[in-house]
Symmetry: C2
Subunit: 125 residues, 2 copies
């Protein structure tokens, strides 16, 4: 089966979603990400959806679910690159991606993750 | 038409190839990359092919061609994440990806790009 690659950069994992997600693929991605977070000690997950022209409730739930899984494994998830039209449609559909953090692009997402890590370290002290 | 997204991280552009390339898609990627390098002042291009289980002569030529275009636009290209089986098949086919730099994974590729930039700066002085 086709699996979406997960790239590691330091303590951040990067996933670029380029194709319309199906059930099996979404489940595989959740599995792979959970395993990768555990094995790599990653603290952040960036999910780029700039290639998606449609985000329906299925993808919305998948993003929320990945976000939840990461949180339990002590990693922060940021969804980046959402097209403006997608944002409009999401809100019109009543999907607000609750619990999912977003950023304009990968760079901003990385800044957000760095901030989250700093805040965590400050609390830990 | 489906286009492969190009992510920007500082002066580096990152492309994850996840699907088998066809003519149109390869041409579109070359176009998009050339435009993005010019508009973003990027100095490095990372192409992740970890999802590809087959790299035939068409993809090989595309990688060489992207590498050449980037060079003319003053950017270094590094192909990362090649699966061992792909490397074996490539050599058996007599395709050695001449002129294409490679690295084991994205992190190593970034180090390579950073080195290339340092070397360039040293020469410029």
């Amino acid at each position: 089966m086709y699996r979406i690659p997960i790239l590691q950069m330091g303590q951040t994992l990067l996933v670029t979603i380029q194709v319309d997600m199906q059930d099996q693929m979404a489940l595989a991605l959740q599995d792979d990400l959970a395993n990768k977070i555990a094995s790599s000690d990653a603290k952040g997950v960036l999910i780029d959806i700039s290639a998606l022209e449609v985000v329906d409730s299925f993808v919305g739930r998948m993003l929320a679910s990945i976000s939840g899984i990461s949180r339990v494994l002590d990693a922060t998830t940021v969804v980046v690159g959402m097209q403006p039209a997608v944002a409009i449609t999401l809100v019109e559909l009543g999907l607000s991606l609750e619990g999912v953090r977003t950023a304009l692009n990968v760079e901003r997402g990385m800044e957000l993750l760095a901030q989250a890590r700093r805040a965590e370290n400050a609390v830990a002290r």
